[in-house]
């Protein structure tokens, strides 16, 4: 049964646009995809921050702390801050003050980095990046670790 619109200007205009198909309902898949993209971006920021933070510690053990490592530290911080702002879309984060969310993110990044450092990930990546000429990774490990080949590997 059609809803009778009373003498109601806004309601009339809105329903006219709906009836004439000037406005359409977006499919559910659009919102699922959008949420997945947001979640993916937050996860990407978090993972990249963990990688950078653990790489910083790994590289500092082999080489002295350099300008490049400082630059990467700034990037890791930016990723953590960016990830926190993106995560504000989700109720677990927006119900908390931003400072608390940042502390949670930084804490989680540091703990995860410590776990990554206990694995052989960086050693293996260093070895493989020296054998192969990978874009981004090879220059990163060479410059960050301050060596051309077969360094830091036992």
């Amino acid at each position: 049964m059609e809803q009778p619109i009373k003498n109601n200007f806004i309601a009339q205009k809105v329903m006219d646009k709906i009836k004439t198909d000037k406005i359409k309902i977006k499919p559910k898949l659009y919102f699922i995809f959008r949420t997945a993209v947001y979640f993916g971006l937050v996860a990407f920021c978090f993972c990249l921050a963990i990688f950078l933070a653990s790489f910083l510690v790994f590289a500092t053990k082999i080489n002295q702390f350099s300008f490049l490592l400082l630059f990467l530290l700034c990037w890791a911080l930016l990723l953590v801050i960016g990830g926190t702002f993106l995560a504000k879309k989700f109720s677990f984060f927006y119900k908390k003050p931003l400072a608390i969310s940042l502390i949670i993110f930084i804490g989680a990044t540091l703990i995860s980095s410590a776990i990554v450092l206990r694995t052989t990930l960086h050693n293996e990546l260093l070895e493989r990046s020296q054998k192969n000429n990978w874009p981004i990774l090879s220059p990163l490990y060479r410059s960050g670790c301050g060596c051309q080949d077969h360094c830091g590997i036992k």
């Binding site: 809803q3 009373k6 200007f9 309601a11 359409k24 003050p97 931003l98 400072a99």
Partner: protein
């Protein structure tokens, strides 16, 4: 089929299944509330109508993003809030970043703010002096005192911590008291 006894959430489920006409019930029910909300931020009737229309059109196009287990009114107010934020940003009436939501607060107890007599007085005071209050206090005062929403509902609409709501209500009340007290002493300006 929608009727007077169907809940808002049931109506949205009908709309999601393809009964577009059922959306009319929701527009009729909430048009006055959304206009009232918009009126707190602008007095121009044309702008109020534009914002109200945009809110309902966005609500319709985004209806599939609504979870029927939650309250429709909170979801609709969220859309209205976003529209008003865009409107205020164009007028440059909003700061780039709000430090209220950055730090944790020990919020004033709800008992302090829930006295019924005080609520009625606040409503009257708010209507008299609302044009002079900053937007962020106007919103929480409007939702708490005029629309009678809970802290939790307001937090979901504005996407801010619950403790920040308590702090803004307290600060908003202080500003209102100062403004209305000043108005009472000195009267209106430019009287001829």
């Amino acid at each position: 089929m929608a009727s007077q006894t169907t809940t808002d959430e049931q109506i949205t489920q009908l709309v999601q299944k393809g009964d577009n006409q059922a959306f009319g019930f929701l527009v009729e029910k909430y048009e006055a509330s959304i206009k009232r909300y918009a009126r707190k931020f602008t007095q121009d009737p044309e702008t109020i109508n534009d914002i109200t229309q945009t809110v309902f059109l966005k609500a319709f196009s985004h209806i599939n993003s609504f979870n029927a287990k939650l309250k429709f009114s909170s979801w609709l107010y969220r859309i209205a809030h976003n529209e008003l934020v865009n409107f205020l940003k164009k007028k440059k009436e909003l700061p780039l970043f709000d430090f209220d939501t950055f730090w944790p607060h020990s919020a004033p107890g709800k008992k302090e703010l829930e006295n019924e007599t005080e609520k009625i007085m606040m409503r009257e005071t708010f209507e008299k002096c609302l044009a002079k209050i900053p937007a962020k206090y106007k919103e929480v005062i409007n939702f708490y005192y005029l629309e009678d929403l809970s802290y939790e509902e307001i937090a979901n609409i504005l996407r801010i911590p619950i403790s920040t709501i308590g702090v803004r209500l307290k600060r908003g009340k202080t500003i209102l008291r100062k403004l209305c007290h000043t108005t009472k002493i000195y009267g209106t300006t430019n009287k001829k």
